[in-house]
Point group: none
Chain length 297, copies 2
Amino acid sequence: MKYPITLDALEVLDAIDRKGSFAAAANELFRVPSAISYTVQKLEQDLDVVLFRKEGRKAVLTQAGKVLLEQGRGILDAMERLAIATKKTHSGWEPVFNIAIDSILSFDFIYPLIARFYEVLPDIEINIYEEVLGGAQEAITSNRADLVIGAGAEPTPNQGIKYQKIRQIEWIFTVAPGHELTQAALPLSRQLIEQHRFIVVRDSSRNQAPQSHRVFSKRPVLSVPSVTEKINALRSGLGVGFLPVHRIQDMLEQGLLIALPVENTILIETSHMAWKTTNKGKVLRWFIEQLSQHDFI
Amino acid sequence: MKYPITLDALEVLDAIDRKGSFAAAANELFRVPSAISYTVQKLEQDLDVVLFRKEGRKAVLTQAGKVLLEQGRGILDAMERLAIATKKTHSGWEPVFNIAIDSILSFDFIYPLIARFYEVLPDIEINIYEEVLGGAQEAITSNRADLVIGAGAEPTPNQGIKYQKIRQIEWIFTVAPGHELTQAALPLSRQLIEQHRFIVVRDSSRNQAPQSHRVFSKRPVLSVPSVTEKINALRSGLGVGFLPVHRIQDMLEQGLLIALPVENTILIETSHMAWKTTNKGKVLRWFIEQLSQHDFI
DNA sequence: TTTATTGTTCAAATATTTTGAACCTATTAA
DNA sequence: TTAATAGGTTCAAAATATTTGAACAATAAA
């Protein structure tokens, strides 16, 4: 016999353990006690292992029974999830979706996007991978990623891969008026600004994610949930950081925020996304659509 | 219906996929073709998902079918291991120890580690299996694995699961001085390097991992038992391959080995390990300790 | 000592799976 | 073009497997 353990047997075992007796398990499963007895005996026989010992009028799990039950529960869970994943796939939703992001890009806009995604579809697994320079490209051709957010303009068209430019963002180092850095010599050095508290956009997908792999190193100091909050925090003088120019143009003009040049800093971030044209998944569509909208930023 | 997917159905699906047709699967399973048909139809009906599409006179898996099969195989494996573990517990043996490794990671360091383990505790059965992207995470929550070696930095802390970073490894494509690839235009293309003989670290453990893995294709390869041997073989000009930078720094500087850039290659491999905090096993501790040591590499 | 609860056994009833023959349908060979 | 062949499906009958219910034994609680 290839698989002596059946799902039904595991289900029965689980019910017995939770309810405390064969009789109660029978009741829960809408079966008659003798059916439970039969299932357990069959399992013990097929597996050639004693799973219950009689203690008084009750049956108690043996050590082997406990191992079987504990691990078996994991398998039952996996089965349930597999059924869900399969159905999701059938209706066009990928069960897992992998995003690779070039590590030089800012993640400020990605976290809120993922958070938004989980609000809509909480049980799809999103994995974000950071890729170093050429890696993002490779990630897609080797099917490691479904969507790549890469740095630079769109690369030359490639067989089977679609590229699309994402809005170009100009980042600028910003502090509140009266901040001590406004007194420092310009341009500011990296060393100097790193001594100040940075405000970063937090990965808010943490709590809601079914399970998400996040793969970048960061040393956040003050985390906020979105770029809007980041602007507010900066204005309140809680810290310093880079902000997208187009979002703070007015405030800069009104003197509510001060922009300062920093040495060796790339200000303009051009990025593109890439995906396989054969991929018709709905999750992919969702992300492409969101990223295409000019105001998602 | 609580569990629409049965183990038998997964077994049938697996056989169909491996053998290529319903008829061949029927033959393998000592059943009649109509029985296979019946099982598949029942599964499709219970799950309310189309799993096969007819192409010509053959039946081909749909996307959903592929997801089901791929994940289902993991569950079948888990079932087999569970049966073994239960029997071992019954007979007083320590249960098997399962390690899941993310398939994008290099196995080079694992095989020698397992070999070392057998020197210390030869009676314990170690299973290594490969998990695709998110799967490694899942493997631990569902108890399919006792230890997971996953890609990326440590994920968000999770109830009952402990994560620990493993040393980050930078891999670099290396050849011996005077190798003909040193004359080629840089960066090297994948096609080009694939024409050369690769040196890979062999799976020298008893219970070998399911697949050979990760070498680009069925090219001529030379298997060696450890990374040290791999370095030696490379230096002798026996072949080419990726090596961890920190192990060959000196040799690169002395010109004993030549590093060459390859297009679209991810150079830096970050990884972490994960295990259940409830697991107090001796075997687990041994592996954690070994993997924590910086020089195990 | 009753009485209720728990688990087991066994034959009968019921449900599920497997079979084999007949029948499609798309490729391949003649 | 036609025949032969390699899948795949359908359906009723046969073979298996599971569930039931009644009778029974063992133990704890009243």
